[in-house]
């Protein structure tokens, strides 16, 4: 079984990347791959709960789309990136899992493909 880690480091809505990265993850999970998503840098904003993109800027809500990863894929949020932006675990969607640098290293080593978008 193939495996991949899709790394998103851009904030949602400012760029198409976050949405497109999640679509890759959903597609690869559908094909039976062991795929997860990592939000780091400004990408952590994609996991902030209570987003209102659909009502305000008429964009698909990235935070709602993220739930499509569940239960086969995991949404990792880089702990350092979150802390640097003054955010807390409580600010995130329920399926988010925090990941520190050491665990991230091991996760990256375990994946066949690292997809940074």
């Amino acid at each position: 079984m193939s495996s991949s880690l899709i790394i998103i480091d851009k904030a949602p809505y400012g760029h198409e990347n976050a949405l497109s990265g999640i679509y890759i993850a959903i597609a690869s999970l559908d094909k039976g791959h062991n795929s997860d998503v990592l939000l780091m840098g400004d990408g952590v904003y994609a996991a902030q709960k209570n987003q209102s993109a659909e009502k305000t800027i008429v964009y698909p809500s990235v935070s709602e789309l993220i739930y499509s990863l569940f239960p086969n894929g995991t949404l990792f949020v880089h702990l350092d990136s979150l802390t640097q932006r003054g955010m807390k675990y409580e600010d995130l969607v329920e399926i988010a899992e925090l990941i520190d640098n050491k665990t991230l290293y091991n996760l990256s080593k375990s994946k066949k493909h690292l997809i940074k978008i």
């Binding site: 991949s4 198409e16 497109s20 597609a27 690869s28 094909k31 791959h33 066949k112 493909h113």
Partner: protein
């Protein structure tokens, strides 16, 4: 339509290049072309998936005055056996509702095809900003 098989392909490994940027705004399309050409010449399989703004790359009748014509270069890759597919969501959003504007051999397909390409025998390279 199907693309010609790379007759020089002697390796099982395939390089999958995912492009994100449109032509000329960055060098990524040219870099992707150079990487693909080199890999094909070495006997590897090469597949290119056009995602987001990169769906503009295979548009026919481009006429850049100051840059290499990326569309013509991609046509050379197709002749060498490179498989090129464009994301249908990205293409439709940018007005490419069918393949009439594209080079012959470029297929509009879904991101699920990219997922199929991400197998154990491939290596994915993302190029874009």
């Amino acid at each position: 339509m199907t693309t010609p098989h790379n007759e020089n392909m002697s390796n099982k490994e395939t390089m999958v290049i995912v492009l994100l940027d449109g032509p000329y705004i960055s060098q990524y399309a040219d870099i992707g072309y150079t990487m693909a050409k080199s890999a094909l010449n070495l006997g590897y399989g090469v597949k290119i998936f056009l995602y987001m703004d990169s769906v503009h790359i295979p548009r026919k009748d481009q006429n850049p005055r100051d840059f290499p014509n990326i569309s013509q270069n991609f046509a050379k890759l197709i002749k060498k056996g490179c498989e090129i597919k464009a994301c249908v969501r990205c293409a439709a959003a940018r007005g490419y509702t069918d393949q009439s504007h594209y080079l012959e051999g470029v297929e509009i397909t879904s991101v699920y095809n990219l997922a199929e390409w991400m197998d154990e025998n491939s290596k994915v390279v993302m190029l874009g900003s």
